[in-house]
Symmetry: C2
Subunit: 282 residues, 2 copies
């Protein structure tokens, strides 16, 4: 017998991974969480049937969501991570000795517990002493903060279920307010390729454009996400994502598998059809 | 009833596209050729069950295989395309008024005939008067040529079946010989991500390194190919792929959907793990 996990990426496309064992399956208060042992991808974490993390390619997502803002602004000391329950984003952040505080707000404690138990590759640094875990709604959490963070990373799921409120204008406004003077916000910005994700990319980008003076988008190759072409948003109160200081990142001697300072600069160069999507919405 | 086309990308990964109609299925002397009308991807051409072309994303592949060498060396006049039976590469080449001759050598006439009949989007310019179609083995064809082409594009299938000989050292040597003094060779260089394609990428790159003084690799997002992360090789007798002349390409006013001169430069910036694969083989 063969076991296959299949994600319906949209009504016309399916992506399937061969499974060794279905390790965990539980419904939390918010969503259905599953962990599989796969052939070829290591552990696989899905939420509501959608691939969140595979051990084979998570390094790309987590390196690109963290090292880009840290290279753009090396003086980052206080960070807020919203979502990111698997711990991969925090793992990369803890590699910076200069970061003093990491608040992580994950609405679903079960995602963190499951990741701690089954996916140590991503969750291993959640116990770092600089990390404060809050099992709360990120939307509410950020409302009460002002001028507090150098960096906010919105490491959200797709805008369905509990992730939906993390794609609203009010939420982005509160992030702006919670950031310090030279603060940066990075957001999971979906994909330009298939209609469903393109629509969300456009909507989020349009909203953020209204609030932040600097709004750029960068891309990377994410094999297990729909189309493999994924985007993060880089928004700030003034710092540009590509600046003269980027190369100083190399002095930190942080070993990475995907990110480097050439990829940093290159990732902000977008295909014409992606630029058109952004332009349409201005 | 639902019809789905499924490609076994490797033993652990499957990619499926919903089908409206199976339009064509025939075995040629060399391979099995199928054409489908899909939901969401337009026409789909497969060879031996592997996706070659979908009307939705072929623009990325065909723009990146042609405009990169043409921007690096605008004086290109004579071009040899090996493979490329769907006609997409020729379509992009014919947009340059400065190109005088395009020899296309496709071993399997049936691929060209099927593309002409069913996939006009890619095949429409195969009748351009500068195009000479040869239904021959590209390996033999290139043996007898010397100092003849400014550009050779190896638009091959994977190195199985008739495509296999297009990944040998002898073949690359003959391409070198067939190129003029400042000639460029572009080759379909597989993918760095899954083991099967990574192995072929390494092998081809290693062989080409022995022959050409300039050997670089560039990447692009190709949603319907395994992992969505695909590579072309850029090899030349002296011309560098990223040079001061690149921006002159913009004066040509060729409308593209993926390619632009920023993407050109950015596509040669590779993730660390891809650079490691190349370094291993030197």
């Amino acid at each position: 017998m063969e076991l296959w996990f299949t994600e319906n990426q949209n009504e016309n496309v399916r992506f399937s991974i061969k499974i060794k064992e279905h390790i965990y399956s539980e419904k939390s208060e918010f969503q259905k969480i599953d962990v599989y042992e796969t052939y070829g991808f290591g552990k696989l974490l899905t939420i509501d049937g959608i691939i969140m993390v595979t051990e084979k390619d998570e390094f790309i997502y987590h390196e690109m969501i963290t090292h880009v803002p840290l290279a753009a602004k090396p003086s980052i000391k206080s960070v807020l991570v919203i979502g990111g329950g698997d711990g991969g984003t925090v793992r990369e952040l803890t590699r910076y000795k200069t970061i003093e505080k990491i608040d992580m707000v994950e609405i679903d404690k079960m995602v963190v517990d499951v990741s701690k138990k089954y996916i140590k590759q991503t969750s291993k640094n959640l116990n770092d002493e600089r990390v404060n875990l809050y099992y709360e709604d990120g939307i509410e959490f950020v409302k009460n903060r002002q001028d507090e963070y150098d960096l906010i990373i919105v490491d959200s799921t797709d805008p369905i279920g509990p992730g939906e409120g993390l794609f609203t204008e009010d939420f982005y406004k509160n992030c702006y307010k919670a950031l310090k003077e030279d603060g940066i916000m990075i957001n999971q910005n979906e994909s330009p390729y298939y209609e469903k994700e393109r629509k969300e990319f456009k909507r989020a980008n349009k909203k953020i454009q209204k609030i932040f003076p600097i709004v750029e988008v960068y891309q990377f190759h994410m094999p297990t996400y729909p189309s493999g072409h994924w985007l993060f948003g880089f928004s700030s109160k003034g710092i540009k994502p590509v600046n003269k200081g980027i190369n100083d990142w190399n002095k930190l001697d942080i070993k990475t598998k995907y990110y480097n300072t050439d990829i940093h600069n290159a990732s902000f160069m977008l295909p014409n059809y992606v630029k058109e999507i952004i332009k349409d919405e201005k």
